[in-house]
Subunit: 226 residues, 2 copies
DNA sequence: GTCATATTCAAGAGAGTTCTTGACTTCCGA
DNA sequence: TCGGAAGTCAAGAACTCTCTTGAATATGAC
């Protein structure tokens, strides 16, 4: 290869790989990953996110700025509030693949999950199986997350039954149905608890181990309220 | 939530997100991304990779060590040589998604590609379309990469026609067929050049814009020689 | 054994990241 | 208009990452 062409190729590769590397650089931080996961449930303010992720407001703002500058989240300003939201379904897919690789590569993660969740019912874990549930008229899909998250995005056909409401027995559920409950995703405990609660009441309940983010990553659509 | 449970949850999140973040940290470097792309074609030695990626041997060794410690590549030692190879199809999927997000988020990348490749024939770019080609008996799938890469892994049914050999007219190809040519992947120029060459000889040639890595990421199997 | 070769290791200068702190800007309601 | 609240900005200490250099290790050929 002539020298000039080789140099041109080298510069091209440096540019492209350098630009691509900015994305994993933005993801290469504990707090930013957690913030992204929180954002993927619904748009949230900086304070709110900071409190939930256990960091200071200023620090959360800086991390969110990194994600926004990279295009992984977008901001909508309303008054003094800044609502951060996930930018693109492609980001969900990336996060799902990232988690898959991390779990297959680092057994510590699976061990930590087991230590935290105990012997967990694996439940329904694939997109196709979840679609069968939606099609089945004798099954009911329940969303165990807080109502605001259901309103922002939920799996089509799901009914909002927040765990808190379920705990305080605000719901009377017919006995004949098969209940399938989902929550935020694999690291969320709401659906596990809802399933346990429903079973204690003698109902047929199963966990769906996907949240709306995983649903979108697999190619699904989500509904919103209003 | 009681205080102890909240603390336990926080510690769990710190552990899990901290561990997951190690994967993007390993990917957050120009050279490591390029090395991974090279490795994904076939197992290669440190020297070889260092030369192709334009870094010193010691530096390449250190970057490869980072990838290996993270489990993204594996090493096989033969004599004084160390052959690095890609560890898992999940890694290919992650890289494909990473590139997709980077391109959708950073228009500079697309601009750099256009500047380098010119107005490029998009060719066939989906897994399904590629499978139709393989099934079509009047089409022939050609692999334009160097023979060693074909031998390490190629799309089933492909014939090895290295660009170098094609240039020196070592191949007599029947005129009646439709030729579909692939190479290393979207940032590789071999297939573009092969298609141009075949067309100049009056043959019906199209580029397939997937390499074996993208093929595997989409769920395909690959064949190897020997 | 000796030598050349492939790779890794170790130390250190320089650059980049992270988190805290306190100040600053902007918006809204009283 | 003022005060409070939400968010951002700026500077700096502590830490981590990167790349170079030269040495160390290990293997195979002679």
């Amino acid at each position: 290869m002539p020298d000039a062409a080789a140099k041109r190729k080298r510069r091209f590769k440096e540019n492209v790989y350098g630009a691509v590397a900015r994305v994993p650089a933005a993801l290469a931080n504990r707090h930013r990953l957690e913030l992204l996961d929180l954002i993927s449930q619904r748009p949230r303010t900086v304070q709110d996110l900071a409190a939930e992720a256990g960091v200071t407001v200023a620090n959360a703002s800086q991390h969110l700025g990194v994600l926004a500058r990279c295009g992984l989240v977008s901001v909508e300003r309303r008054g003094t509030y800044a609502f951060y939201r996930a930018a693109d379904p492609a980001v969900y897919r990336l996060l799902v693949e990232l988690r898959a690789v991390a779990e297959s590569v680092d057994h510590e993660i699976v061990a930590a999950e087991r230590a935290y969740f105990g012997e967990r019912d694996p439940g329904i874990a694939t997109y196709d199986a979840a679609q069968d549930i939606i099609a089945d008229r004798r099954a009911a899909l329940l969303d165990a997350r807080p109502r605001e998250e259901y309103e922002a995005a939920h799996i089509p056909g799901a009914v909002s039954v927040p765990l808190e409401a379920l705990r305080s027995k605000k719901f009377a559920l017919p006995r004949a149905k098969r209940y399938v409950v989902y929550c935020r995703g694999p690291y969320c405990v709401f659906a596990d608890e809802a399933v346990a609660l429903l079973r204690r009441r003698g109902l047929d309940a199963t966990r769906l181990a996907l949240g709306p983010a995983e649903w979108v990553a697999a190619g699904g659509e989500v509904d919103r309220v209003g």
